[in-house]
């Protein structure tokens, strides 16, 4: 299972890449594997400002639907629209082309609450 060391994580199996005041968010390799073939990523919160842990979208696999939780408070400034036609990118490249949203971070102090790769490895028992 791939858990890159340069990323931060949440217990909800999302990864976060911090780039100054912008955070890119997706779901982890573990999450995509558990979900199976992903057929739909729905994000209808673009341009909205939400609090940490609020639902910003849903990811649908053939068999299941899962909520996506915002890892950091902030404004959702970008959605990876290529997922509308190619949701399978989340399976094939979860940390790259399968990224989901970008957030303008509202509160940098929250970044410290994210998990390190070592913490996340414990979460998934890797």
């Amino acid at each position: 299972m791939n858990i890159p060391s340069e990323l931060k994580y949440t217990k909800d199996h999302e990864w976060v890449k911090i780039d100054g005041e912008v955070a890119t968010v997706g779901i982890t390799d573990f999450a995509q594997g558990e979900l199976g073939d992903i057929v739909y990523v729905e994000v209808e919160t673009l341009d909205e400002t939400l609090d940490k842990d609020e639902v910003f979208g849903t990811v649908e696999a053939v068999k299941t639907v899962s909520d996506l939780f915002l890892p950091l408070s902030g404004e959702i400034i970008e959605f990876n629209e290529s997922l509308e036609d190619e949701p399978e990118k989340v399976n094939s490249d979860p940390y790259g082309e399968g990224w989901m949203i970008k957030i303008k971070i509202a509160n940098q102090e929250e970044v410290a609450s994210l998990l390190s790769d070592a913490d996340y490895k414990e979460v998934v028992g890797a």
Partner: protein, 360 residues
């Protein structure tokens, strides 16, 4: 958690295992979409050994089966199988099942794994009147479903029987994969043709290995329960626990074709009356008119009012759109009727359609 005799084989193949009906079962191997495609266009193998098997024998076996099942089992000759259901006393369904006439006075009933105990108790209750011999073979028998348009050709080398000569819902008891007395049944839950093979647990590893050897040139692959569900739903086959249960009438569920009133069976008087009066709701098939996936338990909505519930739903891998089954009032059951599905905060348009969703 129970395991099928092939548990280690599934793990070695990298299957994702999930608990299902008390068994640890493979839900997928390489991925549901690829597995679905394999069965639609090639050949795939499911281990569905969790299914239950009851042997009912004796001079009164048929009378007992006629009493507990809705279809007319007297039509069965040796070598024929029949889809049927067991109505309960209160208008619902105990289980759906397949009945095989193995010998003149020997029948095999194949039931859903989750219902084995309930079914056994239900049948036993009625057997007090008939005194047929009943054996639960579920723990000792395995079941492989070899499904897909290439199944006949790919498996022919494993049997002396002409597999192409076994008609749909017929079976033979014969040699297969070097094992004698295997039930080779032209049945399945996918709509893509093929066989179901019943053998003893001690034999199933050999059968599995030889099936994969013979199927190699045809691109045979193992298929999990996730694809089993998408395949059956594209055909509109009912799944017990989703589309039919202890509270749904077989007539509401569209199972009138296996509910025969030329004989007496459990609750037949009440069901006959229901047929005469007409049902107030019906199980319908619908497809989404926008990109969205219906799921079990979602509300079916019309004119801002909840009119029914989705009982099964998925993204159809073959059609690449959201499809589902659900109960609606009878006046909304006609194909072409517009309905809406409540998906989270959105009300998404859908249309009642004829089955099957996928035309083979």
């Amino acid at each position: 958690m129970k395991k099928t005799a092939l548990n280690d084989t599934h793990l070695a193949l990298g299957a994702k295992m999930v608990p299902f009906a008390g068994y640890e079962m493979p839900v997928s191997y390489e991925g549901v979409n690829a597995e679905h495609e394999t069965v639609r266009n090639g050949v795939g193998v499911f281990d569905v050994s969790h299914m239950g098997e009851f042997l009912i024998e004796g001079p009164n076996a048929l009378a007992l089966i006629q009493k507990i099942s809705s279809n007319d089992a007297s039509k069965l000759t040796v070598g024929k199988a029949q889809y049927s259901c067991m109505p309960n006393e209160t208008g619902g369904v105990v289980d759906d099942l397949i009945i095989y006439r193995v010998k003149e006075e020997t029948y095999l009933l194949v039931v859903n794994a989750a219902n084995i105990e309930k079914d056994w108790n239900h049948i036993s209750k009625y057997n007090k009147e008939f005194g047929a011999s009943m054996k639960d073979l579920s723990e000792g028998y395995s079941l492989l479903a070899i499904q897909g348009p290439k199944a006949v050709e790919a498996m022919q080398s494993l049997s002396a029987h002409d597999l192409s000569a076994i008609n749909f819902y017929n079976f033979v008891v014969g040699d297969f994969a070097g094992i004698e007395h295997v039930i080779i049944s032209a049945t399945g839950y996918t709509g893509s043709g093929g066989f179901e093979i019943y053998c003893k647990n001690a034999e199933v590893q050999q059968v599995w290995d030889k099936v994969f050897e013979a199927g190699k040139a045809y691109g045979i692959k193992p298929i999990g329960l996730a694809a089993r569900d998408t395949l059956r739903l594209e055909m509109g086959y009912c799944l017990y626990g989703n589309d039919i249960d202890d509270s749904t009438s077989p007539l509401e569920a569209g199972l009138g074709w296996i509910t025969k009133f030329n004989k007496d069976f459990v609750n037949s008087d009440a069901l006959a009356l229901q047929k005469e009066n007409g049902v107030s709701k019906k199980l319908v098939a619908f497809e989404m008119l926008e990109k969205a996936i219906p799921r079990q338990g979602y509300d079916i909505v019309a004119d801002n009012t909840t009119v029914g519930t989705v009982t099964s739903g998925t993204m159809s891998p073959s059609l690449n759109k959201g499809i589902g089954l659900g109960y609606v009032p009878t006046n909304m059951a006609k194909p072409g009727t517009q309905i809406h599905i409540q998906i989270r905060k959105k009300t998404v348009p859908a249309q009642v359609v004829k089955l099957p969703f996928y035309k083979v």
